[in-house]
Amino acid sequence: MILLTCPHCGPRGISEFTYRGDATVARPTAPEGVDDTSWVEYLHLRDNHKGPHDELWHHVQGCRRWLRVRRDVVTHKVISCCDLAGDPAGDVAESNP
């Protein structure tokens, strides 16, 4: 089983967590002024990076906190994992679709 170390709960099986998307996507600050192409890009289009990547994970069957995980998508190596509330870019959680 792949383990992810929650900053609160410690190492836990990955089945306790839900992947909630790319953590680098930012909602347009003035959505009423965004054209359709940019909106589609924000909602649906994602890069497919190879290597380290920032991701949102929800410890849904543990402490239910939202986490920002930096993970190498090639090796599965987890580089860092922190609570979004303690993250300077913590507002990403609310703006991610």
Partner: protein, 168 residues
């Protein structure tokens, strides 16, 4: 002291089991105190470490998330100075001797419940079963004798059947 309104067992119509017993009539509250308690609340002693529990005067306090605790007692309590949500009727609770509980849960729960990792006084939330796991909270009692398993009441019968199967 307020009474706990009675509610029938979640397992009505199911065969009783020697190892897996339902605990009924519990007073269960969620305490949300994201910034800690402003002042000490009499009758409450909150655990300081994640995944641990504490108890005072018959009230067990289980850490469930940063600033969130589950308070459990066999008797209704009056707690002043803290906001509580009453979950007394929202949970089904099973009690299993610690040793068989480890063996049964090992079949379908990803928690590391070995004594070295989950000693008495610890608690942890996780999922039970595969595909769409049921949320559970496991509490290893301070005495080390038992584990209590909390599940949403609507899953009570399902989890009971699952645990009974696991005990075969």
């Amino acid at each position: 002291m307020p009474d706990i309104p009675e509610r029938r067992s979640a397992l009505v119509g199911m065969e009783p089991h020697d190892l897996i017993r339902e605990r009924t009539g519990l007073w269960i509250q969620r305490l949300y105190a994201p910034n800690g308690l402003q002042e000490p609340v009499s009758g409450l002693d909150l655990p300081e470490q994640p995944n641990t529990a504490s108890h005072k005067g018959g009230v067990h306090a289980l850490w469930v998330a940063p600033g969130e605790y589950l308070l459990v007692s066999e008797e209704a309590q009056t707690i002043e100075g803290a906001a509580l949500s009453d979950l007394s009727h929202a949970r089904t609770v099973f009690r299993i001797d610690a040793e068989p509980a480890r063996a049964i849960l090992a079949k379908s729960c990803p928690l590391d419940l070995r004594l070295s990792n989950f000693p008495p006084g610890h608690c942890a939330q996780s999922g039970l079963g595969s595909l769409s796991p049921v949320p559970i909270l496991v509490h290893h009692l301070e005495s080390g004798s038992h584990m209590d398993i909390y599940v949403p009441r609507s899953y009570g019968q399902h989890v009971y059947a699952w645990l009974v199967d696991g005990a075969i």
